[in-house]
C-alpha cells in the first residue's frame, strides 16, 4: 500500500472532485465565522439570491471587534456595533449557532471551537481568519480563507483549493526549564523565516511535540501561518482524546469508542515522504523574543539583534526600516530594554494554561511601576476557570487588569490599543507595524517571559527571575 502522510489522509478524504489542471473541490466539515470577515459574504449571498446550504456546519461568535469591558452593555463604537448586529441578524436569518457576547461559550473563535469539542481529529475546518491553523493541533486540516471563500462555504460547503506541498518539522528531546511551546514556534519561525513555509502544510512531530498539552500544541499550530504555511497539524493521540472526552460536541458512548478507533488511525505512515523536512533539537531552544516587525525576526532573549553584516540591497533596506520602526539598532542586546505594556491573551496564548502560568509566576510579586499589564482571557470559559481557580485574585494583587474575552490588543480593532512609540511585550502572534495600534512597537514572547517582563519592567530572561 502507498505510504501516506496524515495530511494526505485528511485532505484526500475531503476531495469531492479534482478539476483537470485546476484546484480540488474541497469539502469543509466545520466553518467558523466572526463579525469582521462575514458580513460581505452574506451580502453577496443575498445579491445572488441564494441561502446557506448547511447552516448546522457553521458556528459563529463575535470576537475581533468587541470591547473587552462592559460587554453586557450596548457597544459604544457605532461600526463595531453594526458588525456585531449584522452577525446576529445573519445567524438568526439562516439558523446558524451563535455564541454571543456574554453567553457561556463566547470567546475568540479559535479558543471556543476546541473548548466546545467542535474541533475534532480528521476534520476540515475553515474560517475567515488566518489563525484557523490553531485547530490543526487536533489532527484536523484547518486554515484561514478570504471572504469570497467564506461565501463559497456558506453557499456550497466547499472551496476550490490546490493541494499544498507537505513539510514535516520534528522537534526531538526535552525542553529545558523556562522554555514553552511559544518558544518552540518562535524558534522555528526564526530559523525558517516568515515566508519559509509558504506553499506548504506542516506536520509537527517528534517527542518534544508529543509531550505537549493540547493548549501548548494549539499555540504551535496557531503560528504556522507566521512562517507562511497554510496550516499545521499534529497527529491525534491519547492527549487529544483526553482533552475532547466529555466536551459538549464530542461523541458519546459507543460513538465515542468508534470515533477514537477511527482517530487513532490518523497518522503519517512510516516511510511516507514529505516535500521538505526540518529537524530541531529541543535542547537548543531557549526563551525567545522578537525584535523586528515580522514574526521571523526573533532571537533568544539573551542574544543581540543581528548586525547588517552580509546584507545588501533591498534586504538591508527592509531590515533597517524594520529596526527603525522598533527604535532598535543592529547589534544591540534586547535584554534590559524598558517596556511599557504587557499583553497576555489572543488565540495563541489566551487559554487557561497560559493564565495559570502567568499567575503562578507573579504570585506574591508586583508588576513594575512602568508597566501597564492587560490580561484578556480567550473565552468566557477561560475567564470562569480563572476566577474559580483563584488566578484572578493573584493577578489583580500583582497589578494586572483582567478584561473580558475577545481578540483585544492582538489586532487593536477595538479600544485596546498600545499607544504610538510604546513597547509592548505580547503573547499574541503578530509584531507587524501598527498591529497593536498605530505606531505601537510589539515584541512577541511566551506568557512566562511576559510575566517576567511585567515584574521587572524590562526585557528579562524568565529563567533569571524565577
Amino acid at each position: 500500500m502507498e505510504k501516506t502522510t496524515l495530511f494526505d489522509k485528511v485532505w484526500d478524504s475531503h476531495v469531492v472532485k479534482s478539476v483537470p489542471s485546476g484546484p480540488d473541490v474541497f469539502f469543509i466539515d466545520k466553518h467558523f465565522i466572526h463579525e469582521v470577515t462575514s458580513p460581505v459574504a452574506f451580502l453577496n449571498l443575498e445579491k445572488r439570491g441564494i441561502g446557506v446550504k448547511y447552516p448546522e456546519r457553521t458556528i459563529a461568535t463575535p470576537d475581533h471587534n468587541v470591547p473587552t469591558i462592559d460587554q453586557d452593555q450596548t457597544i459604544k463604537d457605532k461600526l463595531s456595533r453594526m458588525q456585531v448586529e449584522k452577525l446576529r441578524s445573519n445567524c438568526e436569518k439562516y439558523g446558524i449557532e451563535l455564541h454571543d457576547l456574554g453567553s457561556a461559550h463566547h470567546g475568540i473563535v479559535h479558543v471556543i471551537g476546541p473548548e466546545l469539542g467542535v474541533t475534532q481529529p480528521g476534520m476540515t475546518i475553515v474560517c475567515g481568519d488566518s489563525h484557523t491553523s490553531t485547530h490543526g493541533a487536533f489532527g484536523a486540516i484547518a486554515f484561514g480563507i478570504g471572504t469570497s471563500e467564506v461565501e463559497m462555504v456558506l453557499a456550497t460547503q466547499c472551496i476550490m483549493q490546490s493541494k499544498p506541498k507537505k513539510m514535516r518539522i520534528s522537534v526531538e528531546g526535552e525542553l529545558t526549564k523556562g522554555v514553552t511551546s511559544k518558544d518552540i514556534i518562535l524558534y522555528i519561525i526564526s530559523k525558517i523565516s516568515a515566508a519559509g513555509a509558504t506553499g506548504y502544510f506542516v506536520e509537527y512531530a517528534g517527542s518534544a511535540i508529543r509531550n505537549l498539552s493540547m493548549e501548548a500544541r494549539m499555540t504551535i499550530c496557531n503560528m504556522s501561518i507566521e512562517m507562511g504555511a497554510r496550516g499545521g497539524l499534529i497527529a491525534p493521540d491519547q492527549t487529544t482524546f483526553d482533552y475532547l472526552k466529555g466536551k459538549q460536541y464530542a461523541p458519546e458512548g459507543a460513538d465515542w469508542d468508534a470515533a477514537v478507533a477511527k482517530w487513532s488511525e490518523l497518522k503519517t505512515d512510516e516511510g511516507a515522504e514529505f516535500d521538505k523536512e526540518y529537524q530541531f533539537d529541543a535542547a537548543d531552544i531557549e526563551p525567545m523574543i522578537t525584535y523586528g516587525t515580522n514574526p521571523g525576526m526573533g532571537i533568544k532573549v539573551v542574544e543581540s539583534i543581528p548586525s547588517t553584516e552580509g546584507m545588501e540591497g533591498s534586504n538591508k533596506k527592509s531590515y533597517l526600516k524594520s529596526l527603525d520602526y522598533m527604535g532598535f539598532a543592529p547589534g544591540e542586546p534586547v535584554k534590559g530594554k524598558e517596556v511599557d505594556y504587557v499583553f497576555v491573551g489572543s488565540c495563541t496564548n489566551g487559554r487557561i494554561e497560559d493564565i495559570r502560568s502567568v499567575a503562578q509566576f507573579v504570585k506574591g510579586k508586583q508588576k513594575a511601576d512602568n508597566i501597564t499589564a492587560w490580561i484578556v482571557p480567550g473565552s468566557r470559559e477561560v475567564e470562569k476557570l480563572a476566577h474559580e481557580e483563584g488566578l484572578v485574585q493573584i493577578l489583580e494583587e500583582a497589578g494586572f487588569k483582567l478584561r473580558q474575552p475577545g481578540c483585544s490588543a492582538c489586532l487593536a480593532m477595538n479600544d485596546d490599543k498600545i499607544p504610538a512609540g510604546k513597547y509592548a511585550v505580547s503573547t499574541s502572534n503578530r509584531n507587524f507595524e501598527g498591529r497593536q495600534g498605530p505606531g505601537a512597537r510589539t515584541m512577541l514572547a511566551s506568557p512566562l517571559t511576559v510575566a517576567a517582563v511585567a515584574v521587572t519592567g524590562k526585557i528579562t530572561d524568565p529563567r533569571e527571575v524565577f
Binding site: 469531492v16 472532485k17 478539476v19 489542471s21 485546476g22 484546484p23 473541490v25 469539502f27 469582521v36 458580513p39 460581505v40 451580502l43 453577496n44 445572488r48 441564494i50 446550504k53 471587534n65 461600526l79 463595531s80 453594526m82 458588525q83 449584522k86 475567515g128 481568519d129 488566518s130 486554515f143 484561514g144 478570504g146 471572504t147 469570497s148 471563500e149 463559497m152 453557499a155 456550497t156 460547503q157 466547499c158 476550490m160 483549493q161 499544498p164 516568515a194 515566508a195 509558504t198 501561518i225 507562511g228 497554510r230 516587525t293 515580522n294 533591498s314 527592509s318 526600516k321 489586532l411 487593536a412 480593532m413 503578530r430 507587524f432 507595524e433 501598527g434 498591529r435 498605530p438 505606531g439
Partner: protein, 196 residues
C-alpha cells in the same frame, strides 16, 4: 462576485520595493469595520500614506504623482499575515488590477484570484529589472498578457512567463468566480455531504 474580465493589460506601474508587506500594512485592522465592500481604496496603505493627522506623507509612493497605473510592483513576500480579503478589495478599489512580485503569500494570492486582481509571480531578477526601469523612467510601461502568460517590460522587450492554473486563468479571462462553478455541481456536493 463577478469582476472585470482580465486579458491583456498594458500600463505604467507603481513600484513598492519593500519586502514582507503584510496585509496589516495594506489595510490596518481599524479600517475593517465596514459591513459592505465600499471605500477600502481610500485606506490602502493607510499608515504609510498618511500621518496621524491624516496628511499625506510625501515620501510614500502613492503620494508621488510621478508614478501611476493599474499595476503594482512589490517586493518579495507580499501579502503575508492576516487572511483579510479587505486587503485585496483595497488594492482593487484603489485601481490596481495586477500585482507583480517575486513571492506572494498563499492566502493573499487566492484572495486576489477570487476577486479579479491578477497576481504575477516573476523571478527576483526580473523584479529588480522592473524597479531599475521605473527609476530610470517612471512612465515605463509593462504589458501583462494573461492568455500568453507573459509579462514584458515594453521599452526593452524583456519578458518573462508566469504560471497560473488553467482553471483560474479561464475564470480571470471570463470574469467568473468559483461559486458559479460550485453551484453547478451541487448534486455532486450533496452526494458527498451525505457520506460525511
Amino acid at each position: 462576485m463577478a469582476y472585470d474580465k482580465f486579458t491583456v493589460l498594458q500600463d505604467t506601474a507603481v513600484p513598492l520595493p519593500t519586502q514582507n508587506v503584510d496585509t496589516d500594512q495594506i489595510i490596518p485592522a481599524r479600517f475593517l469595520k465596514a459591513t459592505e465592500r465600499v471605500g477600502f481604496g481610500d485606506n490602502l496603505f493607510r499608515d504609510w500614506r498618511y500621518d496621524v493627522e491624516g496628511n499625506p506623507k510625501k515620501d510614500f509612493v502613492l503620494n508621488n504623482d510621478t508614478y501611476s497605473g493599474k499595476i503594482l510592483v512589490a517586493g518579495k513576500n507580499f501579502g503575508s499575515g492576516s487572511s483579510r480579503e479587505h486587503a485585496v478589495w483595497a488594492i482593487y478599489d484603489y485601481g490596481f488590477r495586477c500585482v507583480v512580485s517575486s513571492f506572494f503569500a498563499d492566502i493573499f494570492k487566492n484572495n486576489c484570484l477570487n476577486i479579479g486582481v491578477l497576481p504575477v509571480t516573476v523571478s527576483p531578477e526580473f523584479v529588480e529589472k522592473l524597479f531599475a526601469a521605473f527609476e530610470a523612467d517612471p512612465k515605463a510601461e509593462i504589458k501583462v498578457d494573461l492568455p500568453a502568460q507573459s509579462i514584458t517590460l515594453v521599452s526593452t522587450g524583456e519578458s518573462e512567463s508566469f504560471e497560473i492554473n488553467d482553471y483560474k486563468k479561464q475564470n480571470m479571462q471570463n470574469g467568473f468566480d468559483d461559486i458559479d462553478y460550485l453551484l453547478n455541481i451541487s448534486d455532486q456536493i450533496e452526494t458527498f455531504e451525505k457520506t460525511r
